[in-house]
Amino acid sequence: MTAEGDRANTGRGIRQSMSDLHTWVGLLLGWVLYAMFLTGTVSYFKDELSQWARPELARLAERPDPAIVAQRVANAFDKIAPGTSQWSVRLPDDRNNSAYAFWRTAPGAPGQRGFADGHFDAATGERVNSRDTLGGEFFYRFHFQFHYMPVVWGRWLAGIAAMFMLVAIISGVITHKKIFVEFFTFRWGKGQRSWLDAHNALSVFGLPFHAMITYTGLVTLMAMYMPWGGQVAIKSPAERQHMQAELSAFTQPGKPTGQKTPLASVEEMVRQAQERWGRDNIGRVNVSHSGDVAARVVVTRGDPGRVSMSPQYMEFDGATGRLLSVRDQVGGAAETRGVLYALHLGRFSDMVTRWLYFLVSFTGTAMVGTGLVMWTVKRRQKLPDPQRPYFGFRLVERLNIASIAGLSVAMTAFMWGNRLLPTTLAGRSNWEVDLFFIVWAVTLLHAVLRPAKAAWVEQLWAAAALLALLPLLNAVTTQRPLWHSLARGDWIFAGIDLMCWVLAALHVALALRTARDRVKAPAKSKAARPAAMAVASGEAAE
């Protein structure tokens, strides 16, 4: 054998190994990754979904002055939670029509949160009564910590899945030897070849995003995954406090003196922050020991236009209103983490960039989905009897149906639950979440009981029907039907209604395409041999 031949064989061997690695790391946690990707994708519109989930809260036609709203909420806290050691309010903005605050409560029974939260009317500062729901927050939390399990376990599972994803991306790039030559190639109606082309296209076009989102996802929880460096370097409480200040504007409150004095004007403090960062660029106001001489007020900078989650804030003496310190920058390591964190969350985005995030993340979801489906497409052709596949094949096929089509049904059911569950129901927000999982479990049961193709088609139709009818349900159950939203220029409600129809159309197209699809008989004859060879070479290029 020539040296060139050796090199060629070695190269093919590495590529084949990477292909096997890509296939198996993609499959083993592929269903988890699909769920993480899809719920993470919709989380780019988390705030909008949360607004939609609380139709009782009126739309803000104009953005209120953050300084005035902050003062109104501060006044409300004198009545709602006098003596709380700490409260924090996120002020209304273009994406949030209410102020959202949480505050510390007296320690209760072990296991209780020690926090309470609520929404506040921007116009009055009063706490508002809206339905008990997690809204978009559920999808956001689910995408990195899941549910029905301790938060730490969920985050570990998300981290392992993200690590698998990172390996799948790197091995996929090595395996796909014709990234540039076949950049625009899609061969329609060629079975496995078409699935491979679609998977490649979805992977390559968004490759910078897919790599970034996976890596930065790991960075967001890096202190949990790899705590040892921090444990060795940071030991004393003072060091820990210093590190916390590098990462967040929300720090543990100090000790009160017990000497009472009214809180100085929060409005004036926010005004000073507005002079520094702009009128509408205020994020939160954090207050500790309000009403005590030791009170502190921290006003943080907003997220827009700043690709960093590193804290930027102004700290005031709460008793006198005097500016104590300004934090404009953090150390290099903290800033690196802040930038990577911000890239993952995308909160700095204007509306166009947010849509770009959503669309490219959607292609990432489709990339994982096509990869999962391809595992069965590739193996179905080699089954001795396609009517009686082996257990592993059946398992993957059924899990694919429930995790791809079933998740669409379950997520839409969550939104139906938001509109249909009685507002007086105790533990309502938990019921919404339970409904999501009940429906998802039913889709799995349906996938197991029905023939595979029928299960795909029926679940895709079910998702399409639920999505298409959701705007009608919204029109019947709220005062904010689509025509009202359009007439008033309420693009959050109108956008969600219209997006439901776009997604319904997508599911209809998928259902029709799946219904038309015919499983090809295994290639046995001589005439079929070239096609089989093409498939084999396609596997190597995968």
Partner: protein
């Protein structure tokens, strides 16, 4: 407005790159283009993409500009492929009807 300019430039850039690719030349023009034409298309493509990048960075700074550029190019490439698929399918159906 800047987004629109950057997107149109990205779309033009990937459109030109697609025209310069061998397989797509056969699909679109029925033959391979001259090497000089291919080089010209690639030059135009890179110039358009560079302009999109420049416009975004000039307007929004390096950090935001880079993020936006990545989003526009991903979307533009996806749209070019969808258009190519649509074109090939229409052509195929027309041929079948003849």
């Amino acid at each position: 407005m800047i987004h629109l300019v950057a997107f149109v430039l990205s779309l033009s850039g990937f459109g030109a790159l697609a025209c310069a690719a061998h397989r797509q030349q056969r699909d679109l023009f029925g033959k391979a283009l001259q090497p000089a034409t291919r080089h010209m298309l690639r030059l135009v493509a890179f110039a358009a993409l560079l302009c999109a990048f420049g416009v975004l960075v000039a307007q929004h700074g390096w950090a935001l500009g880079l993020v936006m550029f990545s989003g526009h190019t991903s979307l533009a490439a996806g749209i070019v492929v969808c258009v190519l698929i649509g074109y090939a399918r229409t052509k195929e159906q027309k041929l079948r009807h003849r």
